[in-house]
Amino acid sequence: MSPWLNRWSLTGLGLMVLVALWALPPRSSEDWFPDRNWRVFRYGTATPEFEAVNKEVRDLARTYQRLVWADSIRGLASGAAQAGVSFLAGTPTWAPAGSSAALTEGIRAQLDSEGVREPAVTIGALIIDSDYGRHPGTPSGWSSSKKFESIVSLDDQLPFCVRVGGDPDQHPRIGITVEDFLWAPPGSRQMSNPLGPCLLHAKYGSPGDSIFLWLRAGGYAFAEGSFPRWVEFRVHPRTPVVRGVGFRRVPYLSVDGTACAGGQRGACIRILRLQASSDDLSYLYDLESGGRSWTSPVGYGSGVVGSLRNFGGVEARLLYDLEEEFGEERFGHFWRSELSFEQAFLAAFREPAEQWLLRWAQERWGEVDVSPRVTMEATFLSFLTIGAFVGLALYRRRRTL
């Protein structure tokens, strides 16, 4: 090569090394721009001081209100236990007539389909005024969102798990309605899922303390149960969705979800230990309510299915898939275990949790390619094209010699 070309090549390579030193290994956008809020892009109309205090007030107000809810539900559960009623179902006064009966029927149908004659703890589903229990000093409507929450008590005398949806009277489109609880595809045999994670409480009773800590820290997202669809989620590893788009990635898997399905056990461990990637931090923040845990034993369950999107929401069925694979007895041992999550998993299923998750992911998405390499087809075609032009050049050269 000519010295001129040599010099420029070396300069280019040097620049590339500098860029690599600066940019590698890959980090999240928050690391690059720590002060930037990527999730919510809006013009800041508030001062930073107000933003900070507002956040703290909101978290406290939400925590305060959930504790009031938990207290009221404790009263309802106590009344139900005394009256010999096995589950709670209720709607606010402004709900359409017959809503409460429909909800009761929906819960009974779900329990029957799972073969639960008598729930192991008091369970239920309630739609309540989302302003109920609000601290009088805070504005109305702060709690309105399209989210289910599960209020859980592990109290030996009065254990319960009640799934709650807040329905704001003023904004009927925002809150949870009976339809949200009972929706099932018309014309299909799919059941509605009004109980969400409380179904596991109904079947197996209260979880062991360590398992509960894991559930409360985010594990409830794996117990939500699937949102009813006409077809159960199945993706064949070689379907075009998986093979054809985005460098053979599954577009809706998170970084950790992709790495886990790609065979990296570390990522599977991170998912199960709920050390979520940066995209999911806001969700975990919700769960822990600003780093505070509530008066024991209250759990703030998962929100809309798919909030924790390591596997695009498919993980909402994770614990049910586990139960299906290993049977109810072994799952019950795991659920009630006093060991830590990972030890309980190993003891009950005789397989490390991350290994099972890896298998679970690969059964659904195949071995996802985690490298940035170009596909074989593209490589072949590129070499073919380059070869054709080189061939032309050589042919031309031979003719001129």
């Binding site: 290994p25 001062t47 205090v53 507002n54 929706w183 014309g187 949102f227 006409w230 845990s293 032009f389």
Partner: protein, 382 residues
């Protein structure tokens, strides 16, 4: 040619870089937060009450700071503006763009003045703020009666012209009798402009049997497709089962609502018609020929009537949209629709998209690289 190995310090530096990547020692992993101790309702309530006065005070200060910031920004971004009149239009523009804006509105006024004769007063409460710029600068001139015409300079002048027509159309729409206004729809449209070519495209490509029947000449179907028939708006009247599935597929499942996503999947993947209908039932029914075609029919009627037609429309008694259009054009409704259809189909474009450009581009690049490969180069290999 033999090259000596890199000096020792370069090798050491490379080994250092490799070690840094392999261990990740410079990039510590985030630690897992420890749970805080439990709190009671009373404790949280008192903590909240202690914070509320500060929260209220900071909120007030923040709102004041925000309004000051906005006022300052407005002042910084403000540019000198000329206000002038073209026909009935009150216009505002930067001095350097005044001539351009004046020419444009002269053209618009000469086009529309016959139709608007006698109804010029409807523009009196409105002012048009017109400007083009390369950057994101906005002219801070706000108010309910200020209509902003702002098309970035990187777009062609035709876009600016269309936007100006659209804003004039907005004023016209504002003054339409209520049944016609409701029928036209809420979108801002270039009312009273010629767009038959685009309507012909819409008529030919709308995914609806009703629209195709209209294309083939059935006036009753044209009325149906335009939403002028007496039946209530209904997806089932306008579209067949396959067409409804196509519409659902085109709308997409969305992300936020799992129910909607499940219905989409049931309709498109499982081909369950009930799912398609449930999916569509959450949306307002949309007729096959919407705003553009409707505006075109109204414009056609206005132009048929000729001079002062808009004023006549303002003075007529409120009626059903179809009757009102017929009366405006002084034609029986069916004849009006038939004439409009002929006009629209007469304006069908004769262009074929995509049949020439792509093959020519492919051929060009093959020839270009082939030519490069065939010629000699100064940078020989070996």
């Amino acid at each position: 040619m033999y090259r000596p190995p890199p000096p020792r310090r370069v090798r050491l530096a490379l080994i250092g870089v490799a070690a840094m990547f392999s261990t990740g020692s410079l990039f510590p992993k985030p630690s897992c937060a420890q749970p805080a101790p439990d709190l009671t309702i009373q404790e949280i309530g008192s903590e909240l009450e202690a914070l509320l006065p500060t929260w209220r005070r900071l909120g007030r200060e923040s709102r004041v700071a925000d309004s000051l910031r906005r006022a300052l920004e407005g002042e910084e971004k403000q540019v000198p503006v000329d206000t002038f009149q073209v026909g009935p239009f009150t216009l505002m523009a930067e001095p350097r763009q005044r001539e351009m804006v004046q020419e444009l509105f002269d053209e618009i006024w000469s086009d529309l003045s016959p139709l608007l004769r006698g109804s010029e007063h409807i523009f009196e409460p409105w002012a048009f703020l017109a400007y083009r710029s390369w950057n994101q600068r906005r002219m801070y001139m706000r108010g309910d009666s200020v209509l902003e015409i702002n098309v970035p300079s990187r777009f062609k002048g035709a876009f600016f012209r269309r936007e100006a027509y659209s804003k004039v159309g907005q004023v016209l729409r504002h003054n339409l009798p209520p049944p016609l206004k409701e029928w036209i729809g809420a979108q801002s449209t270039a009312l009273a402009t010629e767009n038959s070519g685009w309507v012909a495209r819409e008529l030919a490509t709308a995914p609806s049997t009703v629209a195709r029947e209209c294309f083939d000449g059935d006036v009753a179907y044209c009325k149906l497709a335009l939403g002028l028939a007496e039946s209530e708006p209904d997806w089932n009247v306008w579209y067949t089962a396959a067409e409804r599935r196509h519409i659902v597929s085109r709308i997409g499942p969305g992300r936020a609502d799992p129910r909607r996503s499940a219905l989409w999947s049931g309709c498109v993947e499982v081909q369950n018609l009930e799912a398609c209908d449930l999916f569509l039932s959450t949306r307002k029914p949309e007729s096959p020929l919407r705003t553009m075609a409707r505006v075109s029919l109204l414009t056609f009627s206005l132009r048929l009537r000729g001079e002062g037609s808009f004023q006549r429309l303002l003075l007529t008694e409120e009626k059903d949209a179809l009757e009102q259009l017929g009366e405006l054009a002084d034609l029986p409704p069916d004849s009006l629709i038939a004439a409009w259809r002929r006009e629209v189909l007469g304006a069908q474009p004769t262009a074929w998209a995509g049949l020439v450009g792509a093959p020519v581009a492919v051929l060009f690049w093959f020839v270009f690289f082939g030519a490069l490969a065939m010629r000699s180069t100064r940078c020989r290999l070996g």
